[in-house]
């Protein structure tokens, strides 16, 4: 089976570009040019250099000895948490800001939930001297004050999304409306592997550096490029897409996704899209999404703001439906205890998003000889408040 995007932008039946005509010229321009630009030597050179000197890549592939002993298997952590700005998000924003420059755009817009993608976008806009407007739900602005301050310090304007549920999905709507209103000078940096084609593929390609590095790093450490499993958490699914990318067609590599079950899949407060979602259209993309019987998009819940999205990228919907991916979900409680466990076994405080990936050990038992690579997508600094409250530290 093919897991790459087709010419028309589909993964199986998922994907496409279900956008209002007002967005067509911009999205079409991007579609026609993104691959060409990404292959230009001058683009690749600048992208690679920034990833190396500015982001700090390659990120280490760390053998987690004590975690491995505890679960009687071989666990490697892909340390995206050590990137500049603290998560994998910057891989994509570096790529897209260079793309925007090539397309002759000078105004950048972005959406953000917890603020990680907003910070990564504001960072590259500061780096390139571009105007930056970040849409963020009014409710998220209130609960993510440090990231709001970071964005402002970086020179971005943070605009509150006051419509709908005032969270990530509404911030995304507002960013799309901004793009409709500013069709000429603006590039929209989407933060996850979602949105109309070519965004899911473009974001996946920028994030694919994660699996590209895993291959050669594992070869050095284990003498083979392919692990037995790659594991990542999924909200929209950008770190997962990057972690899987070079293994999608390597059938011996098991692909594992961990979604956020919130207070339990069937509690009514969950973000486990593959389990709860149905095929539909969200933010220009045909994919699995959480919705009412009438087709109204519902508000997800997770303790992790980065996984709190009612849809999932179209690649992941395809991996789920085709059976290529094994999908699990971790509750708030499972994620939080897994995060604390990693902190105390390895001295690494993970982002709560990444803690969901670590919670795989509560759902699946691996063989002692298995090599399991887990994407540690971000660091936990931003989540200290949550950890403190949860564990009464």
């Amino acid at each position: 089976m093919n897991y790459n995007v087709t010419e028309k932008g589909y993964y199986g039946t998922y994907g496409g570009a279900y956008i209002p005509e007002m967005l067509y010229p911009n999205v079409e321009n991007l579609r026609q040019n993104y691959l060409k630009i990404m292959q230009e030597p001058s683009f690749k050179e600048e992208f690679d250099q920034l990833l190396k000197d500015y982001v700090g890549r390659p990120s280490p592939l760390y053998f987690a000895k004590r975690l491995s002993e505890k679960y009687n298997t071989k666990v490697y952590l892909k340390r995206e948490d050590l990137n500049h700005t603290g998560a994998h998000k910057v891989n994509n924003t570096i790529g897209q800001i260079l793309m925007a420059k090539k397309l002759g755009k000078n105004r950048i817009i972005a959406e953000t939930g917890a603020g990680q993608h907003g910070v990564a976008t504001a960072t590259v806009c500061a780096l390139m001297g571009m105007d930056c407007i970040v849409y963020m739900g009014e409710i998220d602005i209130a609960r993510q004050a440090p990231n709001v301050a970071r964005m402002k310090m970086l020179g971005a304007e943070v605009r509150p999304a006051t419509s709908g549920s005032k969270t990530l999905k509404d911030a995304t709507n507002e960013a799309i409306r901004d793009w409709i209103n500013n069709p000429v000078d603006t590039h929209y940096i989407i933060g996850s592997a979602i949105g109309p084609h070519p965004y899911p593929d473009m974001v996946t390609r920028f994030q694919s550096i994660i699996s590209e590095e895993i291959k050669w790093q594992l070869k050095e450490k284990e003498g083979r490029e392919n692990p037995d499993y790659v594991v990542a958490c999924i909200g929209g699914g950008s770190n997962a897409a990057g972690t899987y990318y070079h293994f999608l067609h390597e059938e011996e590599v098991g692909i594992i996704a961990v979604e956020a079950a919130g207070k339990g899949i069937h509690s009514g407060e969950s973000a486990a899209t593959s389990a709860l979602g149905k095929e539909g259209i969200i933010h220009g993309c045909r994919t699995l999404l959480m919705q009412t019987e009438d087709g109204q998009i519902t508000e997800p819940y997770s303790i992790s703001a980065g996984l709190d999205y009612p849809g999932v990228g179209p690649l992941h919907s395809h991996l789920y439906t085709s059976g290529r991916g094994e999908f699990y979900s971790a509750t708030d409680d499972e994620a939080m205890t897994s995060g604390l466990e990693l902190t105390q076994l390895e001295g690494i405080i993970p982002a709560i998003e990444s803690s969901h990936a670590l919670a795989i050990f509560k759902h699946k038992t691996f063989k002692p000889e298995d090599v399991v690579v887990i994407s540690l997508s971000g660091r936990g600094d931003k989540d200290l408040d949550n950890y403190i409250k949860y564990f009464n530290l």
């Binding site: 279900y18 209002p20 005509e21 067509y24 010229p25 409709i180 539909g280 259209i281 933010h283 109204q296």
Partner: protein, 254 residues
Amino acid sequence: MKNRIHSKMQEDKKLLSIYFTAGYPALNNTVQILEDLEKNGVDMVEIGLPFSDPLADGPTIQASSSKALKNGMTTAVLFDQLKDIRKTVSIPLILMGYFNPMMQYGVEAFCKKCQEIGIDGLIIPDLPVAVYHEEYQPIFEKYGLINVFLITPQTDDERIRYIDSVSNGFIYMVSSASVTGSQSGFGNTQQDYFKRIAAMQLKNPQIVGFGISNSETFTQATTDAKGAIIGSAFIKHLTANGVAAIGDFVQHIR
């Protein structure tokens, strides 16, 4: 039966079309609003099927959609409200909504229901013309529905020709690069755009939407085009004056 939109386009006058969100201000206002609009000389109506995430709409229509959903509006409720509408209303009726609720209802079931009720056309901003053309056109045609597409000032000539070739009824000409309800008055750029499109001699008439709020903008928009659609301004009027004063609003347009 001949589609009412086709007959309407033949009439020798500039057409006034009104958009409102079904279920707003109150759940059961739909039929009364339609009857009053017809009584006051409106030529055509777009009935908005509310959606939780209306990407192409500005704050006014967003707020009316949220309220309508809170009031309990759903696709099934709307169809039920409209089941006898052809006994009292004879102007063309168009359902305007986003694609996801239609998908969930089932595209064919949705179209079939529209035909039973006497709906003439659909406007689905996030169903791209190519996807319609390749996947859904036979279903829409089977049930006698006209699907209306948008063009904007950024749509290039080649694409306008393509949209004209797939269209059958009228083209919804978005007045400027914007979401709904964000304009006040038309400047030279828009007037030039109206003239440019008129000069293309398209096979389908054009109805201008977005930014028409009063008699002045209606006249400007319809100098070259066949008609114009008023949405946000009408919703604002409903919000301020309720459903009793619909005549006042329409009389002030022309």
